[in-house]
């Protein structure tokens, strides 16, 4: 029977299926971060040990500081003792269990969803999980990857398995050529605006179509990353030459004869031509322009050329919620988004903290000056080092942007990297929820280039005006 990429990976990991449909799935690789201490505690309480430390990889990201008081970053940079303890606990728990751990002073440390692909831990055909909702990022390399809760993390640590009922499948085909200045971030924001924040609920999304094919592996990660913002369990892209070229030579990627063997297996993975999806969505790539969100759900995304929507013109049942959002965001119905004043800029996160993102932001910042506070937080120590080797840190510093160490930082308002109440931020992260970047923070989601454009103009600005795109 013709099968989808998702079907194939699911079948390869199904140990047993109960008559009621619950399937016990083997977990190919498991990623762990510094929010996992409760899971290790659960394990210890039950007298259990980690079943497959060799298939488990850890890094500290959520609670690490992105500044260094001394010459190098240390635990002391985390001001709140309880958070420091979480980072320490990860180091201790992983050392005890024999799990590879990229800690604070390891150049490989970074946001778990940046680190997995970068190290070649993420590979096509794998079923991967992590106690974080943005695990879908890894699907960009042709893996089935989804986020789980803390109890499930404990379950995976103890058994290397997970019980799941098979989600439905959705294919989102994005066809056509993306216009100049339109990025992967704009693509996913446009998709979520089209299908809604619950549009993918209960589904695993496969992103397909010529526009997705034409994206780099990193761009695909940006798209898959925000699958959860569309309500989906996971997002994935079929592995192809772009995928293989990205993985080749990475530390945990296979080498030599094993590489050839792996690639041969990976080439079997893409969805068969006649395979059927439960839901099909098509998106016109040529209609996408740089996007910006106006509200407090990622579905509230509009083109930068657009206006703040008017609740009076919305369906009756939406009006009240829209008014509340506009009140929180301090926006007026009908106001043009291009030109709205911004107070600070955050470039980073697992959505847009990779080297290509920093290059795109630097291209806009180069030779200009930030007129508002702007911060660049590389997604990993290696991204930071690469950016420094390319001189991007200089570009940012010369333009008055802050240059930080790797971590989640202002995406989640950690360690003082917060947006003040009532302040408006242009952020390359994935969530514009009420209070996400700090109580009262007004978050607008944009691409790295759009964020840099906001930094240098102090307003939301169609980046194509600055770059001539």
């Amino acid at each position: 029977m013709p099968a989808t990429l998702f079907d194939k990976i699911w079948a390869k990991h199904a140990i047993l299926t109960r008559p009621d449909g619950a399937t016990l799935l083997h977990v190919g690789r498991h990623l762990v971060h510094d929010g996992s201490s409760q899971a290790f505690r659960t394990l210890a309480d039950q007298g259990l040990t980690v079943r497959r430390p060799d298939r488990t990889f850890a890094t500290a990201d959520h609670y690490v500081a992105t500044t260094a008081q001394g010459g190098a970053r240390s635990l002391d940079d985390i001001a709140v003792p309880e958070r420091r303890h979480l980072v320490e606990a990860l180091a201790a728990n992983t050392a005890k269990a024999g799990i590879a751990h990229f800690g604070l002073n390891d150049l490989r440390q970074g946001i778990v969803h940046i680190v997995g692909p970068e190290q070649g831990i993420t590979q096509p055909g794998l079923l991967m999980v992590c106690g974080d909702s943005h695990t879908a990022t890894h699907g960009a390399l042709g893996a089935l990857a989804f986020g789980i809760g803390s109890s499930e993390v404990a379950h995976v640590l103890a058994t290397q398995t997970l019980w799941q009922s098979k989600p439905r499948s959705m294919r989102i085909s994005v066809d056509g050529r993306l216009a100049e200045g339109v990025t992967a971030k704009d693509v996913i924001l446009a998709i979520i605006a089209q299908i809604g924040a619950a549009g993918g609920t209960g589904h695993v999304i496969e992103y397909a179509g010529s526009a997705i094919r034409s994206l780099s592996a990193e761009g695909r990660m940006t798209v898959c990353n925000m699958s959860i913002e569309a309500g989906a369990r996971a997002g994935m892209v079929a592995p192809d030459e772009t995928t293989f070229a990205y993985l080749s030579g990475r530390p945990y990627a296979p080498k030599g004869a094993l590489w050839d063997k792996a690639v041969a297996a990976w080439k079997e993975l893409p969805t068969d031509p006649d395979a059927v999806f439960d839901t099909e969505v098509s998106v016109d790539a040529t209609a996408i322009v740089p996007m910006v969100t106006w509200g407090t759900s990622p579905e509230d995304a509009v083109p930068i050329t657009g206006r703040v929507p008017d609740p009076d013109r919305a369906p009756a049942e939406r009006r009240e919620a829209m008014r509340r959002k506009l009140d929180y965001m301090g926006l007026t119905p009908g106001e043009a988004l291009d030109g709205v004043k911004v107070d600070r800029v955050f470039i980073g996160s697992c959505t847009n903290g990779r080297i290509e993102d920093l290059r795109a932001a630097a291209a806009v910042a180069r030779g200009r000056k930030a007129t508002i506070p702007a911060m660049v937080v590389p997604g990993s120590g290696l991204v930071r080092a690469q950016a420094e080797a390319e001189g991007l840190d200089r570009v940012f510093r010369d333009a008055g942007f802050e240059w930080r160490y790797a971590g989640c930082s202002m995406c989640v308002g950690m360690n003082g990297d917060t947006v003040a109440p009532g302040q408006r931020s242009a952020s390359t992260s994935n969530r514009n929820f009420v209070g996400r970047q700090g109580p009262g923070a007004r978050t607008h989601l944009v691409s790295p280039a759009m964020a840099a454009a906001a930094a240098v103009t102090g307003r939301f600005t169609d980046v194509r005006r600055l770059t001539g795109g």
Binding site: K12, I15, L16, D20, G21, A22, L24, H26, G28, R29, S37, Q38, R41, Q46, L48, D54, R55, H62, V80, E82, R83, H85, Q123, G125, L126, D132, S133, G147, G149, S150, S151, E152, A154, H155, A158, T159, Q160, W163, A197, A198, T201, I228, G231, R233, Y252, L258, A262, A265, A321, R324, V412, G413, M414, P421, F433, V434, G435, R436, P439, G440
Partner: protein, 205 residues
């Protein structure tokens, strides 16, 4: 885990769609351990003003819904991050059931692990329950998990679907790690075959 069989409790209406886990429990409290308790910070920024005084308009602060054990919510409740603390905060506060037209997937999964029952009902039925609760006269809802029924104010009865496996674990209050470990032999055999088929996954020790 506490078993869940039936529940008769005050239900609070929260009809706003997309109530995300950042609103249920803001990230700044996530350093706490589960044992420290999270209930005091449930819906922190909706429930309390910045100076800590309760916001009167927030539903859980209204006398009619005091000690709510059920929340009736809008679509996509619990969307957002995978933080299980969102469920811990609800159950620690005393909420053991949330009824909504749809849920964030991970929140939905996490609920079952903590003896909290998420119930999906059709949007129009949730709207009817919300409207009945808003009247503040009869605010109790009764849940029977075995029979899979929700009895609302005025005696309306709705049937709901629940995954049989999860239902069983909830009814028995059974921990699923212990359950899974009954399959150790099958797991081991599967792993051996899996590792043989994908030798490139072995990490040189």
């Amino acid at each position: 885990m506490k078993p869940f069989r039936s529940l008769d409790a005050v239900a609070a209406p929260m009809g706003t769609p997309n109530i995300d886990t950042d609103q249920i429990i803001p990230a700044r409290y996530l350093w706490r351990s589960k044992a420290d308790g999270y209930g005091m910070h449930l819906f922190q920024d909706l429930r309390f003003a910045a100076d800590g005084t309760p916001r009167e308009e927030f539903v859980l602060n209204q006398p009619a819904y005091a000690n709510a054990g059920i929340i009736v919510a809008g679509r996509n409740f619990g969307c957002g991050s995978s933080r299980e603390a969102a469920v811990w905060a609800l159950s620690d506060y005393g909420v053991r059931c949330v009824i909504a037209p749809s849920f964030g997937d991970i929140f939905y999964n996490n609920s079952f692990k903590n003896g909290l029952l998420p119930i999906v009902l059709p949007p129009e039925r949730v709207a009817a329950l919300l409207a009945a609760l808003d009247r503040k006269q009869d605010v109790r809802i009764e849940i029977d998990l075995q029979a899979q029924t929700v009895t609302g104010p005025g005696g309306t009865v709705d049937h709901f679907e629940v995954d049989p496996f999860r239902k069983q674990l909830l009814l028995e209050g059974m921990d699923d790690i212990a359950f899974t470990l009954r399959h150790t032999e099958q797991m081991a055999a599967f792993e051996t075959e899996y590792d043989r088929a994908a030798p490139w996954l072995a990490v040189p020790g």
